[in-house]
């Protein structure tokens, strides 16, 4: 009878197409929105991932996300170095500041100061120049990929900032000595690296200027023990890279409403899918109710009819899901080319499959109600 069920489904191609389109749309919406959401979430932690040479970040307990640095005393670095199990500890400066490009374009930038001796915390991949070039006079590094958008000089013909160009940071002259490639970030402002000491010179005057201490734990040392000792000794908070990424992501998701917006979009995909698939499957079953009545009269049990309807739903689910996730993947590829946030690990298609399966099963169970209620005697009613 499964052959009959499939032929009933494929034979009515217009409704079949409607079902597939409905499920494909739901599938696309769930998969794509979840992937964009995950992409954005992952992007909130890009800076931390790019600065993950250490094991721990020591910071003010009130820090809410990676770019929300609160000033610490310089002595914290020495204090941290003195903790048993610490292999090294280096200072990191980070603060938003004002800048001006050579053509006069004003920008806000995130200035990051790396430990002068080790340059730990620098960008993971250099495009032009070397990390050590930061030691050159007034040297800074810029993001090569983002220069066209974030460091663009409109006047004088228009071009992006390049190696060799000068720019002003808090009225201090800086020279671009190299460019790097970083992960795509959720945050808009360009990240400009220099040395820690130079960053302090350029920074607005404050009593304390240290933002973070990056800590590497000795091999074999107990990370949790080192962390708790640092926290006890300094009165500060020490987070692993992953914990700092979670802290940042959680803050951004809740503070910006992204979680609610994308959660609603995914829920909307589910609800629309349920409504479209439910209504179409329900109508499809209702249209065939007379035939189901005949089949019941001729000896088809409710169980058999249920299996037929569920098979039809399953076929629609698989095809609609395939098309929807396929389209989402194509969109994802396009988004990656454009540098937009999109991340689709296997868990998203898997969860989408589960959601689509649930939609189709719910829809078909709904459509089975009239089939189960159907008296076979209805076939003799003209």
């Amino acid at each position: 009878m499964y052959v009959i069920a499939l032929k009933m489904l494929f034979g009515d191609w217009l409704k079949y197409l409607g079902l597939i389109v409905g499920i494909a749309f739901a599938s696309l919406l769930i998969c794509q929105q979840a992937s964009i959401f995950l992409g954005l979430t992952l992007q909130t932690g890009s800076f931390i991932r790019d600065t993950s040479q250490g094991d721990l970040w020591v910071m003010d307990p009130q820090v809410r996300f990676s770019q929300d640095s609160q000033p610490l005393r310089d002595t914290i670095v020495q204090q941290t170095r003195g903790v048993a199990g610490v292999e090294w500890a280096v200072p990191l400066y980070q603060a938003f500041t004002r800048g001006q490009l050579a053509d006069g374009t004003r920008i806000t930038l995130l200035l990051v100061g790396l430990d002068d001796a080790t340059l730990v915390g620098g960008p993971p991949l250099m495009e032009q120049g070397a990390l050590a070039d930061l030691r050159r006079d007034r040297g800074v590094l810029i993001d090569a990929a983002k220069a066209a958008q974030k460091l663009y000089m409109k006047r004088g013909g228009g071009r992006e900032v390049q190696v060799g160009d000068h720019l002003s940071i808090n009225d201090n002259d800086a020279v671009v000595v190299g460019s790097y490639r970083a992960r795509d970030s959720f945050f808009w402002d360009p990240v400009i690296y220099t040395t820690y000491r130079r960053a302090l010179q350029w920074a607005p005057r404050e009593r304390n200027l240290l933002s973070f201490v990056l800590v590497k734990v000795k091999p074999g040392a107990d990370l949790d023990q080192v962390r708790s000792t640092i926290e006890r000794k300094t009165g500060l908070k020490a987070l692993t890279n992953q914990e700092f990424i979670y802290l940042t992501a959680n803050f951004i998701l809740y503070a910006t409403g992204i979680l609610i917006n994308f959660g609603m979009a995914v829920a909307l995909g589910f609800i629309i899918g349920l409504i479209v698939a439910g209504q179409t499957l329900y109508n499809f079953t209702l249209d065939n109710l007379r035939h189901y009545g005949s089949l019941k009269a001729m000896g088809a049990s409710n169980g058999m009819l249920a299996r037929m309807v569920l098979l039809q739903a399953l076929i629609v689910a698989v095809l609609g899901y395939g098309i929807g996730v396929g389209l989402a993947s194509v969109m994802g590829l396009a988004a990656s080319q454009l540098g937009l946030a999109f991340a689709m690990p296997w868990q998203i298609p898997a969860l989408t499959a589960a959601a689509i399966l649930l939609i189709c099963m719910l829809a078909s169970l709904l459509s089975l109600i009239p089939v189960f209620r159907l008296e076979p005697a209805v076939v003799f009613k003209g």
Partner: protein
């Protein structure tokens, strides 16, 4: 369980004149009642029907609209529960079967011909005919092959791969007849099989039903109010207001 032995009819029975000679009983209804609704909305569709249908005969249930013909046919076919009385079909009492047993039994022993054919439009004629075999679990290829062979018997072998919407009304009803017979049921129930057809086509369909469906073992029960086909009946059961008024010999029996 009832015996299938030949029934001796009392000479003073009101049905005596209409009874064929010593044929085994296929269906026996005694004091059969069917009530729809409850309390003030109660409708008595069958009011104590006594009827015996014999193997090898074509019995027509006739009477005005709403007299209970289709209700009686539905109870006999096992697709509607009776409210009271007795009804045994091919030695089986539906009341003693579970719903699942009854559904399975119906699929194996009863053939259905519907007023509006009830063919599935997305299936070919052969696939439609094969449905009762598929319901019994036969492999699709074998069932469809048997379906095509049955179509051949009703003169539509060349239409096996055609879908119902491309067939005329008469051809569709022949497909429906093939579907009703493909699994060799012992009882075939037909609800107004000619009402959707013109006179000539209707007669042809009935002639085909008699020719192909009737044999010594199988009986046909036809609900109709189409007087043009009465002459195909062995016996006619006249109903009115839920009661069986009389059973008369049909022209076919008279001609035997």
């Amino acid at each position: 369980m009832m015996s299938t032995a030949a029934v001796q009819v009392q000479s003073d029975s009101p049905l005596a004149g209409a009874l064929p000679k010593a044929k085994p009983i296929a269906v026996r209804c005694a004091g059969l009642t069917k009530v729809f609704g409850a309390d003030e909305n109660q409708v008595l569709a069958l009011r104590g029907v006594d009827l015996e249908i014999y193997r090898g005969e074509l019995l027509m249930l006739v009477g005005p609209s709403g007299c209970g013909k289709t209700t009686l046919l539905s109870v006999v076919a096992g697709i509607l529960d009776r409210s009271g009385g007795e009804c045994t079909v091919l030695d089986h009492d539906y009341a003693r079967m579970t719903v699942a047993e009854r559904t399975d039994w119906r699929g194996r022993h009863i053939g259905f011909v519907f007023q509006s054919f009830n063919l599935i439009p997305t299936l070919t004629a052969a696939e439609n005919v094969a449905i009762p075999l598929l319901l019994q679990g036969k492999p699709p290829s074998q069932a469809i092959r048997q379906g095509a062979a049955m179509l051949d018997r009703v003169g539509l072998g060349h239409k096996a791969k055609v879908r119902p919407p491309q067939l005329s009304g008469g051809q569709q009803q022949r497909v429906a007849i093939a579907r009703a017979l493909v699994h060799r049921p012992k009882l075939v129930v037909c609800d107004e099989p000619t009402s959707a057809l013109d006179a000539t086509t209707g007669k042809n369909v009935m002639a085909l039903l008699r020719e192909v469906a009737l044999d010594g073992e199988r009986c046909l029960v036809v609900v109709t109010h189409d007087a043009r086909i009465f002459h195909f009946a062995d016996r006619m059961a006249h109903m009115d207001d839920g009661r069986l008024d009389q059973v008369t010999a049909g022209p076919q029996q008279a001609s035997h």
